[in-house]
Amino acid sequence: MEATIALRLPRDAASVPLIRQMLDAALRSLGVVPDIRDDIELMLTEACSNVIKHADPSDEYTVSATVHNALCVIRVIDTGDGFDPHRLREAAPGAEGGRGVQIMRALADDVRFDNRREHGAIVCLEKRLSFLPDAPLKAG
């Protein structure tokens, strides 16, 4: 079984807790274990926060999440000016900023940043899922 949710959201800070809670509720109803859900909430928040902060001049963005074969694939797509993935740097130990990408790389099983020329950026995050024993949707 494959399940997808996709939402077009206003590029507004209030959209981030909204999509985070919606995806968490969806994964909970599929029986995904809490630690994995926590990781996904945080990865998703970092990707969406980047869109809110940086994806000028777009006023909307899209989040899709697909669960298939115990893998969750999240795509956060904006229509801003894009960015250069090679310029993303790791945070210095005591620095305040720059931890969002570090967190995504640490928590996701795979992270890809793509730029579509003049059509904004796509962040694709993958996370392998584990399910509770009584989950309605087991692997496969």
Partner: protein
């Protein structure tokens, strides 16, 4: 939603207890706090946090630096296992004093 409880057990100690969601939609409430002069100790209880993101971590780092500038000791007094895992992931367990696991 973020809730911040501020306690002053004595004149040189501030205790912050954070609960709810500390993310970039709520972080300004924490960033707006200013530490009084003469602070010796800043205790931060994070055990009530349901969620924190990199903006929330940045605000904690800012508090840490403010305490350091005031020559005060910044200490995390309580936290959830998930938050401990996250602070380890981001190497902030080497910057902050954490309670024993």
């Amino acid at each position: 939603m973020l809730r911040i409880e501020v306690g002053n057990p004595d004149t040189t100690t501030v205790r912050l207890a954070l609960s709810g969601d500390l993310d970039f939609t709520s972080v300004s409430e924490l960033s707006d706090l200013t530490l009084a002069d003469g602070l010796h100790r800043l205790d931060v209880d994070l055990s009530g946090l349901d969620f924190i993101d990199s903006s929330g971590l940045a605000a904690l780092i800012r508090l840490y630096h403010q305490a350091e500038e005031a020559h005060a000791v910044f200490q995390v007094t309580a936290l959830t296992p998930y938050l401990r895992h996250l602070l380890h992931t981001t190497a902030l367990d080497r910057l902050f004093r954490l309670p024993p696991a």
